[in-house]
């Protein structure tokens, strides 16, 4: 990696890349303008376009999947949740209701903005899924999911980190293959080469005097050249990533296809990811934590009821994903992007005395992309919410290992067939998550 590409030495390629980019946009392919947010630099290496960029979203806190995707066809959902259940699609009256996805499951009102992506066949909804490990500890459950193998504390790195570590870069000279919108590096990406935690890509640069910026960067790159890892590698990749991200005008980014990002941290992370994907800088993975789902009390999944806390949170989620769908996935056949959403566990089938729900088991997961076999709710079997069918008498059972979903995406969309190394000790079963 000693060769450094001169950012200002390849005008021809830059022009070509821009034309490609404009073509990609279809309708505006012949437009005379160049979007102001386009990067000033383009890496010279041709991209490996056979694999998708993956956007990995973790709903931390354990989201209540039974409120996101309501099993309105299961009567025990209603008996167990006298205060927080959402009315059937065919319920009488004008109050908030479920939007049916099929004859059994439906989106709560907070998730309804994502319905067009489902209708377009780009969104797959999975239910009664999750980890086979029954830990109801946030930290264990999340760590095992991020690692890719439950109940094994000896494994270092995360499933996505291992995938990237064993895969050559899509662009050989890309300094930033993956980022996480966090202050620190999450386990999911741990072990990935050229991966950094970047809370805000637009602010990723060295401050102070512009005249001495280069000299100070050089001093620090040199000084950290003797630091122990992971500090050293982080510092060296950082120095190069600064140049790259500085070249993208994030604040001026214009989404396409009428997409409107609603604002807020999660939305801004998706919007920045969209900018980097379109800028074609070699990004292969983005990881986003979206927290606030640990709803032990006054959960509020119904609009207008009990402060509608979770309804608002679901709106943040669904509106942001809907914008990303319109901007990056819908009608975009040349930008290969797959997005997945998981959470550490679901919550109790029955509400507690505080109109909330405690830590549970089975949950939802989402996958979104052009090559995702969407427009359906994927289940293995629906275990049912009758008390005798619940795990520990409390929780929706997990009948679909979430790694089945991830593994199929890793193999078919990320082009990595070495699933045994990514999900050690696990033999996945492909369930039609992706399509040709």
């Amino acid at each position: 990696m000693s060769h450094h590409h001169d950012h200002h030495g390849c005008r021809e390629y830059e022009g070509l890349a821009r034309r490609d980019f404009l073509t990609m946009l279809g309708g505006v392919g012949v437009a005379a303008f160049v979007p102001t947010w386009l990067p000033q630099v383009v890496l010279a290496q041709s991209a490996n376009t056979s694999r998708d960029v993956i956007v990995s979203i973790f709903l931390s806190g354990g989201c209540d999947g039974l409120s996101l995707v309501v099993p309105f066809g299961d009567p025990d959902y209603y008996t167990g949740r006298p205060n927080i259940a959402i009315a059937r699609p065919d319920a009488a009256g004008t109050g908030p209701k479920v939007t049916a996805l099929d004859n059994f499951f439906g989106f709560s009102p907070g998730m309804a903005p994502l319905y067009p992506a489902y209708q377009a066949g780009n969104l797959l909804v999975a239910h009664a899924t999750g980890s086979v490990n029954n830990s109801r500890s946030h930290f264990d459950a999340q760590r095992y999911m991020e690692v890719g193998k439950p109940a094994d504390v000896t494994i270092n790195g995360g499933w996505l980190g291992r995938h990237l570590a064993m895969t050559p870069p899509a662009k050989a000279d890309a300094p930033l293959r993956a980022l996480s919108y966090t202050s620190g590096m999450p386990v999911t990406l741990s072990g990935a080469p050229k991966a950094l935690p970047i809370p805000n890509p637009a602010g990723f640069t060295i401050g102070g005097s512009g005249t001495t910026q280069a000299a100070r960067t050089a001093f620090l790159a040199n000084n950290f050249g003797i630091a122990p890892d992971p500090v050293q590698s982080n510092a060296l990749d950082t120095a190069r990533t600064i140049s790259l991200l500085q070249s993208i005008n994030f604040n001026g980014y214009q989404p396409t296809n009428g997409a409107v990002y609603p604002g807020g941290g999660f939305s801004n992370a998706l919007r920045s990811t969209a900018a980097m994907i379109k800028a074609d800088v070699g990004l292969e993975a983005a990881h986003i934590f979206f927290g606030g789902w640990d709803t032990h009390s006054t959960q509020g999944p119904i609009p207008g009821v009990d402060g509608q806390y979770m309804h608002n949170l679901m709106l943040q989620l669904s509106q942001s994903l809907a914008a990303f769908h319109a901007d990056i996935i819908q009608g975009n056949t040349s930008t290969n992007v797959t997005l997945v959403v998981i959470s550490e566990f679901g919550r109790n089938a029955r509400e507690n005395g505080d109109k909330g729900t405690d830590h549970g088991r089975g949950n939802i997961a989402f996958a979104m992309g052009q090559k995702i076999a969407g427009g359906k709710v994927l289940i293995n079997t629906w275990p049912g919410l009758a008390r005798e069918n619940l795990e520990s008498g409390q929780d929706l059972r997990v009948t679909l290992d979430h790694r089945d979903i991830l593994a199929e995406i890793v193999q078919n969309r990320l082009g990595n067939t070495n699933l045994g190394a990514i999900f050690p000790g696990f033999t996945p079963r492909f369930r039609g998550v992706t399509k040709a």
Partner: protein
Amino acid sequence: MDTVTEPVADEVPTTETPRADRRRFLALGTSALGALAALSPTAAVEAQPPKVGSRSKPVTPSRVPGSDVALTWQDPLLRLVRRITFGLNPAEVALARQLGYNGYLEYHLRADQIDDSATEAAIAQRCPMVGMPVATLKTQDGNEAVEQLTDATWYRAAFAKAQLRERMVEFWSDHFNISTNKSGWVKILDDRDVIRPNALGNFFTMLRASSQSAAMLYYLDQYSSRTPTPNQNYAREIMELHTLGVDGGYTQDDVAELSRILTGYSYDGNTYAFSYNRTYHDRNAKTFLGTAFPAMPSTATNAQFKGEADTAITMLLTHPNTARFIATKMARYLLAYDPPTSVIDATAAAYTRTQGDIKTMIRTILTSANLSAAPAKFKRPFHLTVSAMRGLGMDMSTVNNIRSGIKQPADFMGQPLFEWEQPDGFPDRVDWWSGLVVTRWNFMGTMSRLTSTTTARFDLTPFRVLDTAEGVVNQISARLFANEIPATLKLALIAYLKGGTYNETRVRETIALALSSNEFQWF
């Protein structure tokens, strides 16, 4: 305290949802959602650095195997200063040299005998809410109260002489984590009644106090947990995070049973004192960790109902897995990320023998032999910033408003005090923090340029007593590193200082590079 959790992503850009706005949101409730959503990315408060017209090639030195910074630390006494304070400065080093290894450690262990009255008096003036009685405090602006708590915590960490107490306050504040985004100002009561008085005291006393702390009972939803549908949140975390540890030998049934035992633990909504709500208590028979708790008659007294919880908590405190869990965590914090088994064993034994005496555990961990063999630990953002303040010679007179001058910009490094949402506390892991290279470099640059007499000021004078490149770098070496600094770094700093016009800006840049250097990131 109606809003239960923060409505925005907990890990996505804090730069775009500044703290003040988040708190305001919590204060206003859901009506502010629209306003929050309307915050555009261009409203980011972080100043954009000047764009440069043409950029030089970034340097990409070839990779070489790195080495532990601690290999350059020869003096065990200085290792002790690094570990039990928030950073070296000439006064602290002189004190350590005067008292010797054991004398210096004992001085800090006897924190009650250290006179910090001058600093406390100044803090009382700047952060009066932190000391207010509840009756007065509850009439104040809750957001301001939380700000004053974090201001006071910063001032104490930087300027209190009783440094080891502040280090342990940091440790226990993580161990008994409470996010003020949920608890609000009531965390002040937990800080002054649970954490601070017991930080160098007794773990049994501290855990029992924590279990009766309004902020904790609210944060982990215990206060309203009642039969027949108890809330399991606190019951789980008191075992997983506060005592036994996640592999501590309990089951989901134990969580459910302990949640039934703890029903009734609540607080008085007027005084925020612990109160026992007998109508919430589940008096049916229970079995917890193999011990039977027989059913109780409805005529039993409050003390008899609560006695079940007292028994269960004592079972947790005296459990060998708790001894091991607390010993491991303290050794990791004070000594090394991967502490030797022998140290853990000895510390756990000290816990059991002394019934949770924290001083004895610290003495067991921080022997000269143990410290001399310990690799360096990576400073978390709060630690890094405070150590810079100390090394730069700041004090209560040069830092007049820590909130806007230092605390708020430092929070962009990812460690806003008392705002870690999950109950496990800020991570004590190098891989979590070491990716923050740019934000650390930038904030160290900001620190070097502080010149405001109203907020915070870094007085360069002591660094320029000998006003030459070599003179400045000698001061950097002495003040920031107690002279345990590689010759290569000194030479590089001198070369940088001589690489441009020698003036105040260049000197400040050189100091920023020293603060940003690999060598300053470890303790």
